[in-house]
């Protein structure tokens, strides 16, 4: 069964540094998402992306965050200047289309640790 793959599985970064988290969505999927889960808290929606632009973003997704689909397969989340509170598990997801009838398929996540 096709999978969403995320790299790296664990990223350790110094506070203030830029970090890029990478995702390869399922190949025929058109919608892409990023979620995060701070330890002990809920999984939270960050952003959705369709047709090379942001479709929706949450209040968490401020100017420090950006997303990009640099080529036909990768989907990236960039945090420009990391803060301690950015430490979390980041999940990428993709779906064929928008809406509940097209479930979102999740990757295994990248654990981001900010020192």
């Amino acid at each position: 069964e096709p999978e969403v793959t995320q790299t790296p599985s664990h990223q350790v970064t110094q506070m203030g540094q830029e970090v890029i988290l990478r995702c390869v969505p399922i190949s025929n999927h058109l919608y892409f998402y990023w979620y995060r889960q701070i330890l002990g808290q809920k999984v939270e929606f960050l952003v959705s992306f369709y047709n090379n632009e942001i479709s929706e973003k949450s209040e968490i997704f401020d100017d420090q965050f950006s997303v990009e689909r640099p080529d036909g397969s990768n989907f990236t989340l960039k945090i420009r200047s990391t803060k301690l509170e950015d430490s979390a598990m980041y999940f990428c997801a993709s779906s064929e289309r928008r809406g509940a009838w097209q479930p979102q398929h999740f990757g295994d996540g990248t654990r981001l640790s900010i020192l």
Binding site: K42, S58, A100, W101, Q104, D108
Partner: protein, 114 residues
């Protein structure tokens, strides 16, 4: 605004016993409900979903859930659990209407005791 509440952070159950994981939601619009499972060191895997129609939905691995609109609940059940069911279980809702993101509960850690 919508929200999902999973009251139990951990549920210990003996192997072959039944289990119910509770999920309540709050929303001012119609919702679509999901249960995801996360096995250790893995991503979120869709277990089952309620979109419309029958309020009892069956999912993978013998799990089922019942949508109860009057009680705003979507509890997950399994009649007999196995050690391999040990995982984190997340209830989530999708409200549509232009929103793309799922709203998740905090998760319930199901611990199967031999």
């Amino acid at each position: 605004a919508q929200s999902v509440t999973q009251l139990d952070s951990q549920v210990p159950v003996f192997e072959e016993a039944p289990v119910e994981l509770r999920c309540n939601y709050s929303s001012s619009v119609s919702v679509y409900l999901f249960w995801y499972v996360q096995y250790p060191n893995q991503g979120l895997q869709l277990l089952l979903k309620y979109l419309s129609g029958s309020t009892l939905v069956k999912g993978i691995n013998g799990f089922e859930a019942e949508f109860n609109k009057s009680q705003t609940s979507f509890h997950l059940r399994k009649p007999s659990v196995h050690i391999s069911d040990t995982a984190e279980y997340f209830c989530a809702l999708y409200s549509g209407g232009g929103a793309d993101g799922l709203t998740f509960g905090k998760g319930t850690h199901l611990i199967i005791q031999p």
